[in-house]
Symmetry: C2
Subunit: 359 residues, 2 copies
């Protein structure tokens, strides 16, 4: 039985990539050692790090105005590092569209003033507040968004821009490289790798060079962005296996034709699944139509009990990890880059049959 | 040709462990997914995390007075987190025995007063200063040591104790689980995993429970030790592959008979290699005899040019990564737990022949 894992992250990776990693796991390029056993400063790993960075630059069309680096600690570490490096007692605007932006805003309060410029919290994050209603701070230190809300199942479509002179910061953990993004619209983009791009253990940080100057002197070395940018992300031992897998996944994305091609496939997958949801009375999604995430499709059956039954029976059919996030319940199908259309088709087939029997 | 990789880290892992990880890389326990693709909150990964923690507790005989957790960012992150959580404007004693303790002391200055209670820096860290000469601060917030100095090639043998009431903090990154340690002598032990225990990407932190109360209120969530201890190291997505490999390596150490058995092998390997070094005029080691590391054997040939030739010819013979750290030059053979006696024997054979031809 083919198993489709709809986990929100760590998540399914391309089969081709997994096969390569397995094949060379114990003997990387005839070194006699696995990539996990090799020095990060040796001749085998250095080109992997370079390739990961170069692939990201190419795929996202990143200009020389930006640095690309890798930081351990995932998104939660960025919640702290961003204000620690960039707020410095000033005021930042946060757009509160889900659990993760809310957490990020809380961490920023340790380092300055946080203005929640807009929030959909009162309606359980069922939409992205319209930009015309945002109460932005003039000359804010930065404006912060979560481009895709993994738990709520919403996504900025299209992405907003910040007022002139205000750096836009985006947590793209769950939609990075799933869609074409104009990096020049942002001051900083970051993303945990463990959804679209590889195993857990690192975040990609893309930062405009001028922002590197902002870090106050009293920030410890390992928490300063320039520590990473000035040392090719090798000031300390990097999470080498995660970077290696990232290099393989981005090689694969290039082979597919780049992000524009990948985005087309993602739109097709999401359209098909939402199209099916909209065609039934049995399933529903709480997310406003124009804000529906292409990555995390949140839905419900008519009852909590039926949701649980759905998840259990789907699992038995090889459609796994469809349970909604523990904070919100319901069901969720994460259909990141590596989920093929066949997985979506298998899910829809199962959903049809489940609705027929239980509807 | 059998290849022996003497890298200081990331470093050789047990062959048995590498074989298991390769075998189940794409299909962990018939889940249809690799461990890197599985949710950290799912039924497959949770037992891995539990096993890694339980194995460490068992192998190091850790009492209920301590918590064991995993933090991303390696040793350098601990240089910052320790004073951020435990110093709080007080004074800490640092014993400066190498590059890493020196770096750790520098980071602590952001959070309080640092007293370098002893240092061997002036003699290029060629020994561990005798404890009778340490200028300790009465009632220091903590006393900090690096139990094994990876670059200088020295090690505390035996380990010191802190004055009554002062928590002893040890960076054991390069000798954790290579020797029997009485955890009750310590307030906090930490170690990057990437030398003796697995791939890079996480540090083990063993912390006495009362110290968790010290963290000031203004420390961000992801940088607080209690965030990790109260959430089974799953507040955020853990570096799941690194934890998985750690579970496999610690399974293996248990199978070998535990740390006391492993320590015997490590002593035998180190004794043989130092015994050979001492028997020649061609090779020398700068480290004081009583402080020689069992993990990182630092040595030189008669000249820098000869060192380079040695490293090059050794590499051609399958004895790799013998170059000394870029800060100190010379040669270094790291012989962590996973280096078999056969590797040490092969190195000594080569060294003999190289000295015969070039001596």
């Amino acid at each position: 039985m083919e198993i489709y894992n709809f986990s929100a992250g760590p998540a399914r990776l391309p089969k081709e990539v997994m096969a390569i990693a397995q094949e060379e796991f114990c003997n990387y390029q005839n070194s006699g050692s696995g990539i996990v056993e090799l020095s990060h400063r040796g001749k085998f790993f250095a080109p992997v790090m370079e390739r990961a960075q170069a692939n990201i630059r190419e795929l996202m069309n990143i200009s020389d105005d930006y640095e690309v680096c890798f930081v351990q600690g995932g998104g939660n570490m960025q919640f702290a590092m961003i204000p620690m490096n960039l707020l410095n007692g000033g005021t930042a605007d946060y757009i509160d569209t889900g659990v993760w932006s809310n957490k990020a805003a809380k961490e920023a309060k340790f380092f300055g003033t946080v203005n929640i410029a807009a929030s959909s919290r009162e309606t359980k994050y069922d939409h992205i507040p319209a930009q015309s209603e945002w109460n932005l701070t003039p000359n804010a230190a930065y404006m912060y968004i979560t481009s895709n809300n993994t738990i709520a199942g919403s996504e900025y479509l299209p992405l907003p821009k910040a007022p002139e002179g205000v750096p836009l910061i985006a947590d793209m953990s769950s939609d990075i490289m799933s869609r074409v993004v104009n990096v020049n619209d942002f001051g900083l983009i970051y993303a945990g790798i463990q959804k679209n791009l590889g195993p857990s253990g690192a975040a990609i940080v893309i930062i405009r060079k001028d922002l590197l100057e902002r870090t106050p002197d009293n920030v410890p070395t390992i928490l300063r962005y320039n520590t990473y940018t000035e040392n090719d992300s090798m000031y300390n031992t990097p999470p080498s296996f995660t970077i290696y897998m990232l290099a393989l996944v981005t090689d694969y994305l290039k082979k597919l034709g780049g992000i524009a091609e990948v985005e087309k496939m993602n739109i097709a997958k999401a359209d098909k699944l939402y199209g099916f949801l909209d065609s039934t009375d049995f399933y529903s999604t709480p997310v406003a139509k124009q804000d529906r995430s292409r990555m995390n499709v949140v839905f419900r059956t008519p009852s909590d009990e039926m949701d649980a039954k759905f998840v259990k029976e789907a699992t038995a059919q090889g459609l796994t990890d469809l349970k909604g996030h523990r904070l919100v319940g319901g069901c969720r199908a994460s259909i990141y880059n590596a989920m093929p259309m066949e997985g979506v088709d298998a899910l829809i087939s199962f959903m049809k049959e489940f609705a027929r029997v239980n509807g």
